[in-house]
């Protein structure tokens, strides 16, 4: 089993400068009663976009078309809080293909990369410059670890295995199961 390789992403940027955006903001818990993947775009940032009665709030997220490819430029410590993988699912369903930030939360980053949502952690100077590019085109070279936007170039480093999975479409489950013999050996060693 192989996934579709992700080599480059080119899309308009969408900026959310808030720090510590937690996964309850990305998708409120009441939308987690699902048992399948997909169809979470409407729930993405739901309470930032909608009032309790379902009417739209005046939030910039409501000015962009759901499902259209975007690159999210987000604040520090993006995705903190719960381990819900529904967060990257919702972001992808909403149209985001990548998140550019100074630092993302550990579990969120791990979940996102397993779902082809590329997480680019850049230095503060580059981040500040990219935060000024709302609505403008941005390009990410996943293999090279480069972001280009206008005359800005920023570098990011992916965990090497996650990078291989993205650019070669390697399936982590297949990779783990291929180590079945080592797992069996480990279990036998402990039973002894």
């Amino acid at each position: 089993m192989r996934n579709e390789p992700i080599l480059t992403i080119t899309a308009p940027a969408f900026t959310l400068p808030e720090a510590n955006v937690d996964t309850d903001q990305i998708i409120p818990a009441r939308f987690l009663t699902t048992t399948t993947r997909g169809a979470l775009g409407e729930a993405c940032f739901h309470d930032w976009r909608f009032h309790g009665d379902g009417s739209k709030k005046a939030h910039r997220l409501n000015d962009i078309a759901q499902g259209e490819a975007r690159i999210l430029v987000a604040g520090h410590n993006f995705g903190c809080g719960s381990s819900r993988e529904h967060a990257p699912w919702a972001l992808k369903d909403f149209g985001f293909r990548a998140v550019v930030t100074t630092r993302s939360a550990d579990i969120f980053r791990s979940n996102a990369l397993k779902n082809g949502l590329v997480i680019c952690e850049v230095d503060e100077a580059a981040h500040a410059a990219l935060m000024d590019r709302d609505g403008l085109e941005m390009s990410i070279d996943v293999a090279a670890g480069n972001i280009t936007a206008g005359n800005i170039t920023a570098r990011f480093v992916l965990e090497p295995f996650a990078r291989t999975c993205l650019i070669e479409g390697v399936d982590p489950m297949g990779y783990i199961l291929a180590q079945g013999e080592a797992i069996t050996r480990f279990e036998a060693g402990r039973a002894a």
């Binding site: 808030e18 309850d24 009663t33 579990i107 779902n115």
Partner: protein
Amino acid sequence: MPSPARTLFDKVWDAHVVTPEREDAPALIYVDLHLIHEVTSPQAFAELDARGLSVRRPDLTYATLDHSTPTTPRAPGARPIYASPAARHQVETMEANCRRHAIRLAGWDSPDRGIVHVIGPELGLTQPGQTIVCGDSHTSTNGAFGALAVGIGTTEVGHVLASQCLLQRKPKTMRVYVDGELRVGVGAKDLILAIIAELGAGGAAGHVIEYAGPAIEALSMEERMTVCNMSIEAGARAGLIAPDEITFRYLQGRAHAPKGAAFEAAKARWAQLRSDADAVFDGEVRLDASRLAPMITWGDSPDMAAPVDSSPPAPSSAKMTEALAYMGFKPGEALLGEKIDAVFIGSCTNARLSDLREAASVMAGRCVKAGVRMLVVPGSEAVKRAAEAEGLDAIFRTAGAEWREPGCSMCIAMNGDSGRPGELIVSTSNRNFAGRQGQGVRTVLASPATAAASAVAGAIADPRRILEASHAQ
């Protein structure tokens, strides 16, 4: 040549490496205990089905129902009434997946059902030196036993179901050393809120925290669980505490703990699980417990915490300004006396027996202020039974609080237990994120004593006033 000094974390990690970490690939780590619940597992089981895979070690997997489950009181044997058809379907999917894969489930008819992080320790499933994973960020609770317990995503739940292994880069280590002694009215919840305020919401990202020092060693197991539970709120991968006699006494006689000679042998093994004296941590933070006051949060992130008798700081960032606006608090204005709408005693942070005792000691002979709603939700069926056996339920009921069935309830508010927009809720849970307890709800995190004192006052209150008055009598 002597082997290099290792931390407790290093020792647990090293004992579980199936294939070592390389530059191009993480380590493959063996998992001793995989806890699962209804919210983060259905898509993982679906993935197994789609690939024709089975569960490798159902005997190392244990399931419960907690997040989507109603906590409304019901007669014995009565069917639960779900908040939505989707919630019911999610629970039934968990039941079906467990049946199909021969996984033990603490379901509706089980005396063992409860919040996943409460029942693991309670049943003795959680043991020192283990690796424990669960599709839930508060899995770190189990670290109180000297286990390496990490929260994972649903894709990884699938990996562990199929292989009993997890791909992991070795995290860095941080020691949080707490000296001194906690004063009357100041507990484990206050301590961890103070630690998170010190570290910041992302301050321990990429690290496993070891909590150490005299103030940590003095804590009971339930208090240690409260501390380790909230490690994730500082961004930590996990939090752990070296096992000691307090740990061993807690475990002895638990349903799944070793028995007899096996327990003695295990104890000797467990006693080795401590950081070497000269072990080096990547980071170190020190606190003095004797300087701490009861803590509450004033913002919408758990690191925005301050002594209950203080006031929110002047904002130094846009995030702080927005948080104060959301909460309706003003810098320099006392938090004490701020009128509240509800109180929630519960969650994997503070719904164990000692937490309910702490709240009940404040409530005894007092009433919930008129107009304030108070929910008390035990962490498990076992906690509920024990609390009822010593009459805690009667204290809460007499005071005017609701005594409910076990579950996550108003901590995550996905089972129908939620507040209304604008309400201010003092909660013993772990997250005060905007909307966490219902859209537009404002959450103040606090200890069970502070939450109970606030219920009585109908406003944010300092539990020391009540506790000191009780002592004086």
